[in-house]
Symmetry: C2
Subunit: 586 residues, 2 copies
Amino acid sequence: MKLDILNKIDSPRDLKKLNKSELYELAGELREVIINKVSHTGGHFGPNLGMIEATIALHYVFNSPVDKIVYDVSHQSYPHKILTGRKHGFIDPKQYNSITGYTSQLESEHDFFRVGHTSTSISLACGLAKARDIKGSKENIIAVIGDGSLSGGEAFEGLNNASASGNNFIVLVNDNEMSIAENYGGLYQNLAKLRETEGKSEDNFFKSFGFEYHYIKDGHDLDSLIDVFTKVKDTDKPVVIHMHTIKGRGYEDAEVNKEAFHWIMPFDLETKEPLFSYEGEDYTQITDDFLCEKASKDNRIVGITAGTPVPVGFKNFRNKFKNQFMDVGIAEEHAIALASGIASQGGKPVASFFSSFIQRTYDQLSQDLAINNNSALILVHGNGISGGDITHLGIFDIPLIANIPNIVYLAPTNKEEYIAMMDWGLEQNQHPVVVRVPSNEVTSTGENVEADFSDLNKYKKVSKGSEVAIIGLGAFFQLGEKVQAKLKEELNIDATLINPIFITGIDEDMLNELVGNHRIVITLEDGLLDGGFGEKISRFYSDKNMIVLNYGATKEFTDKIDINELYKRYHLREDLIVDDIKNMLK
Amino acid sequence: MKLDILNKIDSPRDLKKLNKSELYELAGELREVIINKVSHTGGHFGPNLGMIEATIALHYVFNSPVDKIVYDVSHQSYPHKILTGRKHGFIDPKQYNSITGYTSQLESEHDFFRVGHTSTSISLACGLAKARDIKGSKENIIAVIGDGSLSGGEAFEGLNNASASGNNFIVLVNDNEMSIAENYGGLYQNLAKLRETEGKSEDNFFKSFGFEYHYIKDGHDLDSLIDVFTKVKDTDKPVVIHMHTIKGRGYEDAEVNKEAFHWIMPFDLETKEPLFSYEGEDYTQITDDFLCEKASKDNRIVGITAGTPVPVGFKNFRNKFKNQFMDVGIAEEHAIALASGIASQGGKPVASFFSSFIQRTYDQLSQDLAINNNSALILVHGNGISGGDITHLGIFDIPLIANIPNIVYLAPTNKEEYIAMMDWGLEQNQHPVVVRVPSNEVTSTGENVEADFSDLNKYKKVSKGSEVAIIGLGAFFQLGEKVQAKLKEELNIDATLINPIFITGIDEDMLNELVGNHRIVITLEDGLLDGGFGEKISRFYSDKNMIVLNYGATKEFTDKIDINELYKRYHLREDLIVDDIKNMLK
């Protein structure tokens, strides 16, 4: 790559010295760097290509970090990172891992928050604005939002408050016509009208809040960007700049297939083939296949996603059953209440989420769904201990969901159980049912599993032994099998192995039976120990003669730590667990 | 009371037979009934007086329960209840307790959800609409919202989706110019403009979503109400009816002092004096006094409330420190992100909530606050086991908050500790600090407590004994003292008594010390056992030789069950606990 301009840029200060034509050259270089880097490492592709010119213009006009820019979701902050002293992480393959995919105040004084969930930038920036006003200083506060994030409740709450704050506050709306999937909702129809009329349409959503409003027709035209940013700089009012951009701008495939190129796996730039491929079955596909089959026979099934249809199991479903499919956009709270409402009238909603994003819905799960005890089915994908980003961990859903009364939270250990649980969740009308989609490779037993889990909290004793009992929850059942084998091999112990099936309750009979001929019960869960499943087992045995060892994640935020390192740290390996058992048996 | 008309009304069917002048008479009778009943029992006063005419008109025009009306918060549903077969609960003092203060499908086929939190009606009604569309039936779906609820994120998410649903959907916005306190935000300025222009102002918030829009100038004028409702009945579009009402209508004091009369304690209708009065100190006042004192010396202190300033400790603060006070309206998610942003720049935010409403903010506590580890102070009022409504229980905040990494959740046991904890929370800059305001009567020791809790998870051993150790968390520390006394009295045991101070961690040294000369550890917490504090103690001892007994609430939704009944059910009495200990020591 020839990076004549970028080589000269170590901070936004250097950028301000460039002339217009150099700025355009810089945009080209940034584009090349991002396309090349993300093709090697995977990451957010379309969102960053769409923000290149706007980021250059922001740093050209404003004075970061005195002026403060907050990026919503922050998955569009790669250009910002490259321009604020972190270009090595995008240019030098050896340093690709040195820079995270999101903003981080640990990396740079130009970042103010670690952000990975949507719809938060305006509210967070309101905090920066209030802190400024208390101090009596005068810097610009800029919240960048878009890419579907506007539909999340927190963004609306932020707009409502920011618009009434009566002082400098700049919202840059990056309108790329997309959420992760397509946008949905009346608000986006308003944005479309504003685009058609170049900002002149009546009943302007942003003006309705009282914002001063500016429209930028081409968010890739540096001249218009710089012009408008200069105009609003140092304003004493809340202002919205509505900028139209093209997601994936400058990479044809990404411009055409915006959803697929939102986030990509590594691929070969020449052949466009993925660098890694996975041929086996996966639980996403199993979800989709099962729901399509069910829906083909029952028009009461309604699939619900909050902006991420493909990875939560609706890839085919959404096209085959248009009338039975609802993408509510990034609006998880609405999705749960909607599902509760449908179920209350005999419909069969199945709402499917990532573990990290269902965190948005605690109150809706509790109030809108569980108190009303409506029989919606909820699927939790992307859960479990992982090497993921700090903002996207999947270890908190058990403490979150399993301690809400009335909800039945199920943990399948294989394909057949998973399908049976979804089936039961849809057919029964007694409880809200949540299923924790296993995060490990698909195990298929070929056994027929009856779709009936109405006998709540009845665990399944898979093999009966003595001395040690292993309770392997969901995706960690297979780890339980390994522990069992190793105990036999090393200590000649025939351990009891239990598949608890239910996360939300205790099988008192079975646990009581273990007392007497077992000395140790171990629990294995693919999630946080605090407030989780194992602690309930510990509490049950706390007045009985039984040693309990709980295995799972420690209460900590981890950030891109290799999963094997975490498994070692938490003793989530059969050798380490058997060592622990040996120590207890001494 | 002379209830000539009401005596004839057992269901909405009877209402439809009345002529206009009888409808007006009915409104007067409803008003008299509600004023009389609520003055005796306490309850939501202003919201119900404001909804009388609209409710009559709804039932006159629409065909409930085929047409489905969903009330937001449902604290304005008394007129609806009286008109749908439940008047006995409002007229007959002996039956006052037979009817709850919120809608409930267990009470009537005219209710569809149990609701007590705000901003949910539109999303829930979207579910009813989707279920209708699947079935191919044609009823009207009506979501009633207002009284400040529009500012909550879930309401916005609902509006965004309802507006694009392309079928019959009626939103009745009850604009009484109020939240619980005064409205705040750009949206409410838009409503004000619409009121001034009788719905004709440009940049109409509701039209910006694409709703058909109708304005009703006088929401107490039955003719206009019936006229507009009749016009929109059986529409095939999403419609908003924006109706201006007067909160507290028909009771002068309530019209004048809208906030104080939102929810009232029982009072004497003649003298207007409260029937019960509480003269002692309370933690709300202590909060206010302390924060006022702090703020008078430090302009970085910023008080934040989400629509309920008075009961969370800002009664005087909000008037004395206008520049340091932010009522964000009903927008809890925004409040947490805002606090995080202020803290990130060295401000000292203190955001104060009810336990039940902080449930809205799990994701913001985790992502916006805890991951960023900003040192905001959060206060949790109204927590603990209570005889309250199912929708307003305060037992879930420990599982919700205490299992989030980085957060320090503190449980004061008396006034001096509470003040010291608030003080430390504001002065330190290392952690997000949450304080669980004790729910019991104020205990004051007069002792000086140092405002330093930086040595995390160091419990306080209040008295050293043997055999039994009692860990009494927060408001249940005093119960721990009673258990200690009774153990001495009945078993001559000198029990160890521990004030753990920290909800979020374990004092391993102190707990290890107990092993050997203690056989039983009991934990006492004023909240849910599942996912709570005691389970962490059980887990700690699960591989050690110690009996642990955890006391707290069972995982269940309770609804207006007498607190003494609950204490008995959960063995939260010193006599019952000592009996349990006797059984274990046998």
